[in-house]
Amino acid sequence: MKIEDVVCPFCGCLCDDLVVEVEGTRIVSVENGCTLANEKFMGDHRLKTPIRREGKGWKETTYDEAIRETAQILCDADRPLLYGWSGTHGEAQSIGIHLAEILGALVDNTSTVCHGPSILAIQEVGHPGCTLGQVKNRADVVVYWGTNPIDAHPRHMSRYTTFADGFFLKDAFRDRKLIVVDVRKSESANIADEFVRIQPGGDYAVLSALRAIVQGKRSIIPPSVAGVSREQLFRVADLFLSAKFGAIFFGLGLTMSRGKSKNIRNAIELTEELNRHTKFIISPMRGHWNVYGSNEVFTWITGYPYAVDFARGIAFYNPGETTSVDVLSRKECDACLVVASDPGAHFPKACAEHLARIPTVQIDPHVNATTHLSRIQIPVAVTGIDAEGTAYRMDGVPIRTRMLFKGNYPSDTAVLEQLYAIVKEIKGP
């Protein structure tokens, strides 16, 4: 059976035009998908049953036993951390936050190690953004700053920018100017009209120089700023100013390098300067398919987008203190529930060591680095394949993912609902 308009649950593009052929509980072909989508749908490398660590080995266990033991671990802990959430649907994220509230736990999502600094900047100076549809139909200047969409978001260019014809851009590849700013000549930089190579850690200075040029202060620009020549800075600023509609997309090259949230703040303020001359927008390239959704769900329930601490009985938010890397490296939490992410692979070693030290439980369809650090792993259905639920695209548009077949695994929602019910029973009214 061929299913059309399937939503891809891999990256923040949430491409919704895939055609997937299903035979029973097996996917046999994928059309329109990128390499990442093909691997996601065609890969069949799931953990078969719940597993539990016993001594120096692992034993299979049942869902009921695994969930009951997880509930007991969380209830016994003084400072549990509930981490992850970006690889599951909004309904499951919502249960996770309610679980954190009754446990008095700290709940954090993967923004903490991707666009957390972007959120901090947006909280300071706002977010002049728009939907990707607007970019596709209007943007004649596109900037990728500290991001390499060809590898990380392979269809971003073909669906929304360089290779996508739009309502006002009938020949997008020729009509749109593409500027790539990076410390390395990435695949995306190879096809840019203008590649701006910055010295590592120099983004803030280059953004400041561009702001000065846009403000008409060309005479104060030195011959070179963080490895970028004054001539190139003038050329890029002129491209910005000649745009009818410009779109800046930025990635972890800004959030993870020196300056972090202040880089983003400067980029947003450059966008604001440009809006005095023409129309410009700026948006983060979100990584996990539903990381934006985790920020939305966290915010509408707690008031804060990530790093929310319920230890005081109310929601408390202080990135740098209540963020997962800080909490784990301080050896503060004494139990951890990981849902739909892999901190073992993506956190520094000191954090992985603490996850191994404390009882860590993982709810995830696949064996990953965190599996080896855990005491229990509970496999679940993959949202968008054998479970359905709501996700948010990188531009904040909610999209309903579909269940392509009914498999044998419970969804994240089903497991978390059961876990929540047991915790509530243990905690009492």
Partner: protein
């Protein structure tokens, strides 16, 4: 020699991200991209093994030539090997310096370790799927 370690997504890393116990994932996550001029200075061939050391930690990786990287910098895809070298210090931001760790690179003949072995070094117990 000292280098600035940069990390980021690669399409191969993304392709194997749900098979972290696989050889393919291990190969990608231990691939260290270096400018050929730096490789010449260190007398390294493509595929040579190197010890990559940060302030306190070290891992073994395989070097690959990359003209797209500036001399003095190296690139490894995000993953447990690169993150092994990154300090947990976030400077009050919540975000470690994933793109700004100084490392020392020296040739070695020591073997690569698997993801499971790396996690065992962190105190975990390997699960073979």
């Amino acid at each position: 020699m000292k280098f600035l370690l940069n990390t980021g997504r690669t399409i191969r890393q993304g392709s194997y991200v749900e098979r972290k116990n696989s050889v393919a994932y291990q190969e990608e996550a231990t691939s260290l991209c270096m400018n050929p001029v730096d490789m010449m200075n260190l007398e390294l061939e493509e595929g040579s093994q190197v010890r990559v050391e940060s302030e306190k930690e070290s891992v073994i990786m395989k070097v690959h030539p990359a003209l797209w990287i500036t001399p003095g910098e190296v690139f490894v895809c995000l993953g447990p090997y690169a993150n092994h070298l990154v300090k947990p210090e976030t400077h009050g931001s919540g975000m470690p310096d994933f793109k700004g760790t100084m490392v020392t690179i020296t040739p070695t003949s020591e073997p690569l370790v698997t993801v499971a072995e790396l996690m065992e070094q962190c105190g975990g117990v390997r699960y073979e799927d």
